[in-house]
Symmetry: C2
Subunit: 331 residues, 2 copies
């Protein structure tokens, strides 16, 4: 969709956060719901734009910039398509530096930015404007609407000033995404190992190589929840890895021990090509590598861990930064 | 609440439908959800006003008139309180001539008026604006939000022109309510039987007298659903009546036979005083009379019966107007 939109409407202007004026009006656009539903009910590309226009009408102001609320999965590229179609510049930065499943799991939330007023649209033409007392209420109400919309909603959210963006954003995540893609492309061109290139480009740690032998998945409450079970390959032969997810991977458990958890990134890629496999694409038989990538430091404060740490998701474990966890495991 | 508001803010101007200009802006305010929740979570009186103001802000226009969407239960008097507090005149007419549980069950729906844009507010300060493709979608989405709001929402809905109001309304329902109250009061003053006065004033039929011996009630899906079982008293001794409800009474079954159903009114009152007992007040031991009252003729067309007839509510019976049903029963 992003490529098509750029081909049709021309390239997207990408702006450095430092070049954004304090009083600029910044809006994020995204899809909300279970990714497993989105890939069955493919968007036309217009829906996120409808949400944007609806929020602009509500404010009586055109967005000066649009942004990606997360750097991962569909929501890292939907805003590119919207930016191309509606000729809005995009800022090089996002609100997570990864992907998370709930609306309040955003670095802007940590600096007090409100998710609302937000708009929601579906593919049938229904639209909603929400204004809630806090971001948890935004999540709760928007999630119920998403379920009624059929499992997917298109949203424009976290309307904010340029000043708020600069205070809260994970900066240069778009540049980082581009550099990861370039590293993979160059490794392929050189005949080098793409997985090594990926680890280099991300500062990640190899947690496991294995074959997916089981995937449990339920689309429930407006999320895709489940777990994948992997049997070890190569140096991990004889080991087992379980990954639990809620839209995004939450914890990785190797032979009974949690070796990585939110907010660090647990990333599944094809073992040989290092191409990403998001949770909705996990399936029996895939041979994959699992890597752990340190999250943005903004997520590692006690306040942030209350919002996105393992305990929030129901795991009674303390968060151990991936660098330390890997050292402890001697992996 | 209505009495308090009038004492505090002064009387409410009531306007005849014929005196409403075609281009006037008319808005309805109401509570939505399970009445059984509303009586536990009493409104402060401001909530419906918040919904009104929020919809006015959305339209950028002050309502010229507010109306009751239904003539029964809380929603016949909430708009009086709102009219007093916000100094808006009230039109003598409503959208049902009775009460119904769902948003599309409104005479305005029958003449093509849209329920949306509508606003919703809760007591915490959350607010929502909905704009849906049709009135069934409005019901579906607003109901899910009502559940998340905690079972009750305050809404401003069916924004319309004076012309649409005059085309769709059940006229003079407020006058009728007043005349029923007067009839009861006068009967009491004269020492006459209030129940007879009520039957006279409403054109209703006595269906049953009995004692409530069982009430099943569940607050589910944003409604209060259930049934009440009554054992006959006086001339109905030896008979049993079952009333099934979804916020409002839907069917009355006497000794196994349906003797009244939506869209006609099934009204439960205290047997001796003829004071109304709404579904949320039904309880073991009350001695009641049950009366059937013909609904407004607008509800008796085939098109209207699809919206509010017994089949819509899951009863596989044909609607028989109460006058005819009573004749058939020889009651």
């Amino acid at each position: 969709m992003a490529i098509q939109a750029i081909e049709k409407y021309g390239p997207v202007e990408v702006v450095d956060p430092d070049d954004v004026a304090d009083d600029a009006f910044v809006v994020s656009v995204a899809g909300m719901g279970a990714p497993v539903v989105m890939i069955e009910k493919l968007p036309s590309g217009k829906e996120a734009g409808e949400a944007l226009l609806s929020l602009e009408r509500y404010f009586g102001r055109r967005a000066d910039y649009i942004i990606s609320i997360e750097a991962g999965g569909m929501n890292s590229t939907i805003p590119i398509a919207t930016a191309a179609r509606f000729k809005r510049p995009l800022i090089d930065g996002d609100g997570m530096g990864r992907a998370f499943p709930e609306l309040q799991m955003v670095t802007f939330h940590l600096v007090g930015v409100k998710a609302t007023p937000m708009s929601m649209a579906d593919e049938k033409g229904n639209s909603v404007i929400l204004d809630t007392v806090d971001n948890f209420w935004a999540e709760r109400i928007a999630r119920a609407i998403t379920v009624k919309f059929g499992g997917v909603a298109w949203i424009a959210i976290y309307p904010m000033s340029g000043k708020q963006f600069k205070a809260g954003a994970v900066r240069h995540s778009l540049s980082k995404e581009i550099s990861i893609g370039q590293a993979l492309r160059e490794a392929k061109a050189r005949g080098a190992n793409p997985l090594d290139a990926l680890l280099d480009a991300t500062g990640g740690f190899l947690l496991f190589k294995g074959k997916i032998v089981d995937v449990l998945r339920r689309a429930t409450g407006g999320f895709a929840r489940g777990e994948a079970r992997l049997e070890g390959l190569e140096e991990f032969k004889g080991s087992e890895l379980i990954i639990r997810f809620q839209n995004e991977n939450l914890v990785a458990i190797r032979d009974g021990t949690v070796i990585a958890s939110v907010p660090d990134l647990i990333t599944v890629v094809e073992k040989d090509s290092a191409k990403p496999i998001t949770t909705e694409r996990l399936k029996y038989g895939l041979r994959v590598a699992v890597i752990g990538i340190p999250c943005d430091p903004k997520w590692r404060t006690p306040k942030a861990l209350k919002v996105v740490g393992p305990k929030y998701f129901g795991y009674d474990i303390d968060y151990v930064p991936i660098e330390e966890a890997v050292k402890r495991m001697g992996a």
